[in-house]
Each structure stands twice: as structure tokens, then as C-alpha cells.
Symmetry: C2
Subunit: 286 residues, 2 copies
DNA sequence: TTCTTTTATGTAGTTTTATTTCATTTTCAG
DNA sequence: CTGAAAATGAAATAAAACTACATAAAAGAA
């Protein structure tokens, strides 16, 4: 956990002198990491061993080790000990908080991913006759994004955010078809039914969803992000960002698997797009 | 700049022994920050003063200071000095790289944002009679995402990824209407024309795009992300993630601005959604 | 090449910094 | 109060980092 938060949280478990140290650090963490133990002791008006004991109480090896931890937690850009947005946050505050919590969320997602499963998903996708991406509501923009990416591979790919179209598409599917279902919770009834329908028609179902959810149980392969519930009360945020990055990962895996010759095709698409642009550009929106 | 990258970049400016130090650090940065200067010297098979000189060459005060810098750059999540995906990366490698570069990109975006402009954008949005989100190609999923969020506010909001619909919508717009245009490069000709059309019809144009681009020049307010060009050769990735987070920021600003009573409405929408779910859920996909 | 100059590197000693030990003070239950 | 336990700091010790200087290697000039 973030060292700065940890100190703040444990303020009342410290002894009198140790609290002085804690307060000196909280007052100016940047100074703390650039001070020697003697210096910090003087600032906190305690003795050096007290500072040392303080460091150990926080599960570090000693003062230098503590400084390292503290430096990392400062770098991690969490000046906001509480990352949730408050009623009275200004633009500066809520902007930082949202960016930071999104980054934290991606980090969690990264650590929670099973790369073996990703590899298998890439296997399945590269061998598919047809790929479909389905999502409902907020997840539909993730599905669209996936469509936009896989579309460039010049393989049969589709995307529906209409439940009826999704069902029809499933009914028409057959072995060799891959259906990617996107749902943060994995509990949307309609989408679980789509998964069942797809499997009844021999399609392979990959789910980007929560592990152990009803949708996960109906799927052949589950890529779960292990992302904590969205902290924001009102709508899904970070979790969907993580899904999008996962799509990027799958796309990249797909590209790599297909090899060099295949990648030339992508460049052609890109060059063509540039004609619709104003001068100077290597990038694209399409 | 990131210390790890800095080391890699300056590899050839170092002397022979100093390069040994650099390589020892790059080989295992985590070990490096937990070693004493003597230890690291041994690992790199050089003398202690050489390590010290190496540190100073990187503009640090000495070894402990260098460790601090290194620790911070590790915390920032960049074990992969080279963040670009290679031909021969395995799933483990490319997954990490993509997540990490996305996080790095968000960090850059965060630092480059002008919160005053965000605040103004929120102003404009809260006072709008009608809000439209337009994007083409890959940016259209960002627009959809925005629609999905603002839709909950129970205000007139629309989203088109069809250029004809976009133009028609602009022609029908009038003062008090806000049109949000999304384009990473800001150089897509058709979208620049849409911006012109919108302004001719007295709409207020907010652009999520690159500063100083043709689109930026045609807009009333530009939110530029200052995100580096996408490193991936084939398609836009991180930049669009940053745009999505920016949408989250605008949504949050909007919610906060509207005040507490307004937020009750959001909860109602959420509770209603839950009926379409399998038990246990506080989250949502819709 | 060979000698000179410059630069790079390491050894050993010095200084700074951190840690341990132990004596003193404080706290608090009985 | 009193005495055990905990907290604190002074001083000594140990560890780490740095400096000065000597030597070795490399580069350049004759």
C-alpha cells in the first residue's frame, strides 16, 4: 500500500515521539526523502533511533529503505490520499483523481491477468472463421472499439449492440466462429442468454468479464480483469478502460501471431487513410 | 525524465566501466535500488567510485540520491525500458508493455491537461441546450462512450459516427447547442468541415484533439491531451484511452456542477438497471 | 612507432550516515 | 506511591558513501 497513506492511517498507533516523526514526514514528504536520518530527527525534534524505530514499524528494513518506499509512493503520483472524488473538489482535484485512479486500476488489471489465457484467446481468434463482438450499454463502445481494430485485419468480423441482432447472429453461427462477449459484471441476463445461444450453435465464446459470474460460467474462455468495483458511484469508468486495454492486448497478440507479411496489409490500410488528411500525419483516427 | 529510459538512452555516452554499471542496473533495477554501492559495484564488476561517478553523470547528488530517482521511475511502472512491442515478445511481455505504456500515456496526459479549460468545458456543457458527440472511425467509440455517459443526465444528447448525419445535425443546430468533436490528430478533413459547419450555425464547438491542428483552429474550445504519438505502428491505442478518461473527467465535472439533487436521478437510473441482472450487483454495464 | 597528455579506473583513507546497545526517563496498572 | 513495562535518547559501533590520490588505459602528437 501507498506509504503516505499508510502513515496517515496508522497515526494513532504510533507513540508520542513516533507521531512527531510521522507528522514531520507528512508535513513535507519531499523534504523527508532528501534528508538524512539526523536531519529528519532534528526536524521532528526526536532522536535518531526514534526515527529508525518509526521506519521499522512501517515494515521497512530501516531508514534508507523507508526513504525508498516513500519516494515510490510520491512518484506514484498519489498526492491524493483519498482518490475518490468529493463533492467539493475543484477541476484540478477531480481531474487528477480520475486519472490516478484509472492508472491504479490498470495496474491492478495488469497484475491480475492470466497471460496463458490471453495466449489461448489469441490462438482461438487467429484460427476463427468469423469473429463477433457483442456488448450491451456501456460495454457496446468497447465492442465497437474491438471491431474497429480487428476490421483492419481483413477477416470476417462483426459487432452488434442490439440484442436482437446478437441473437440472430448467434443462431447463424457454426463451428469455427468466435463470439467475444463484453460485460463488466457478467450478470446481464440478456447477454448470458446470448452466450448460451452461441454455444448451442457451436460457436466458441470468449468473455471479457468478471470471474465466476453467470456469464463466465457460460463461456468457453474467460478473460477476467480482477478490477475492483468502480469507485465512482454513478457509472462505470475505470473498469471499461481496462477492457479496452485488454482489447489492445488481444489485437497486438493477433498481429504478432500472424507474422510479418500480414503486417504489411495493415500499413497499406494506413497509407490509404492518410489521403483523407491534412498534410503531416503518421497517425490516424479511423 | 524517467531515469531508466535516461540510462538506456545515454548508454553510449558512458565509459566502458560506467556502461557496466548501467547494464547491471538495467538488468535488474529492483535489485539495484535495494543494494548498497559496494554491492552494486561488485555486481557490475567495477569499483565503488565508478558507481558513484556514474550516478553523478546522471545529474544526481550521489548514489543514495540516484537510488531515490530510480525508485521513483520504477514506481511509475516502467520495468520495460523499451515499451514498444517486439516481433518476438511473448504474451507476458506484450501484455505488460501495452498496459504500462497506456499508464505512462495517461500520466503524460494528466500532466499536460489544462484544468482551466476543463472547467470552462464543464461550464459550457452544463449550460448547453443540446450536446452532440461526433467522431469518425476509431474516435467514434469514444463518442459513443460519451453518449452513454451523458445520456444518463436526462438532457438532450446525441452521437453520430456517420458523416452525413453529423452534417445534418450541424445544419440544424443553433445557439446554445454544444458539439463535441473527437479526433486524435485533428487532421481529418471531413471532421474539420463539420466543425466549420457547426460554427456557422452558432453552435459551440469543443474539440478533443491535438493542439494547433486544423480542427483545433476551427473550434471554440480545445482540450488537447499532449499525448505522444502512438508508439504502435499499426493503430491508435493509448491516445484513445486518454480521450476516454478525459470524457470521464468531463462527466464527473458535469455531475459535480449539477449538485446533489441532480445526482439522485443517476441513482434512480442505476437501481432500475439492476432489475435486468442476476442477483448481487452494484455495478453496471449499461 | 614512442612519448606525452588526457581520461578512466581503482585503492585506501576519511567522512558521513545509519544502527545497535544500553542507560534513563516516562507511563500506567496495581 | 511503587514497580514493571514501554518509550526515548546518548553514546558507541557498524555500515555506507565519498574523496583524494595513484595507477592504468586510451588517445593524440611527433
Amino acid at each position: 500500500m501507498n506509504t503516505l497513506e499508510l502513515i496517515k492511517k496508522n497515526l494513532d498507533t504510533f507513540s508520542k515521539s513516533e507521531r512527531k516523526v510521522a507528522e514531520a514526514i507528512l508535513a513535507s514528504p519531499e523534504t523527508a526523502i532528501h534528508s538524512s536520518i539526523a536531519n529528519l530527527a532534528k526536524m521532528a525534534e526526536v532522536s535518531e533511533p526514534t526515527v529508525n524505530r518509526f521506519c521499522r514499524r512501517l515494515d521497512t528494513k530501516g531508514f534508507p529503505d523507508f526513504k525508498l518506499h516513500l519516494a515510490q509512493s510520491l512518484a506514484n503520483g498519489t498526492p491524493y490520499v483519498n482518490r475518490n472524488v468529493n463533492e467539493d473538489d475543484g477541476p484540478e482535484a477531480y481531474t487528477s483523481k480520475i486519472f490516478e485512479s484509472t492508472m491504479a486500476c490498470l495496474n491492478t488489471a495488469k497484475n491480475g491477468l492470466d497471460t496463458n489465457l490471453i495466449n489461448r484467446a489469441v490462438d482461438v481468434l487467429t484460427q476463427a472463421n468469423k469473429i463477433s463482438f457483442f456488448g450491451l450499454g456501456a460495454s457496446s463502445s468497447v465492442a465497437h472499439d474491438a471491431l474497429n481494430k480487428f476490421f483492419r485485419f481483413n477477416i470476417p468480423v462483426s459487432c452488434f449492440d442490439d440484442i436482437v441482432m446478437q441473437r440472430m447472429s448467434c443462431i447463424n453461427s457454426s463451428e469455427g466462429d468466435v463470439i467475444v462477449l463484453i460485460s463488466h459484471t457478467g450478470r446481464t441476463k440478456l447477454l448470458v442468454e446470448v452466450a448460451q445461444l452461441a454455444r448451442e450453435n457451436d460457436a466458441f465464446v470468449i468473455a471479457l468479464t468478471e470471474a465466476n459470474s453467470p456469464l463466465a460460467e457460460q463461456s468457453n474462455l474467460v478473460l477476467s480483469l480482477g478490477v475492483p468495483e468502480d469507485t465512482d458511484v454513478y457509472m462505470p469508468m475505470s473498469s471499461r478502460i481496462a477492457q479496452l486495454v485488454l482489447i489492445d492486448v488481444l489485437t497486438t497478440g493477433f498481429t504478432l501471431r500472424r507474422g510479418a507479411k500480414f503486417r504489411d496489409n495493415l500499413k497499406k490500410v494506413k497509407v490509404d487513410i492518410q489521403d483523407s488528411r491534412f498534410e503531416k500525419t503518421n497517425d490516424e483516427d479511423f
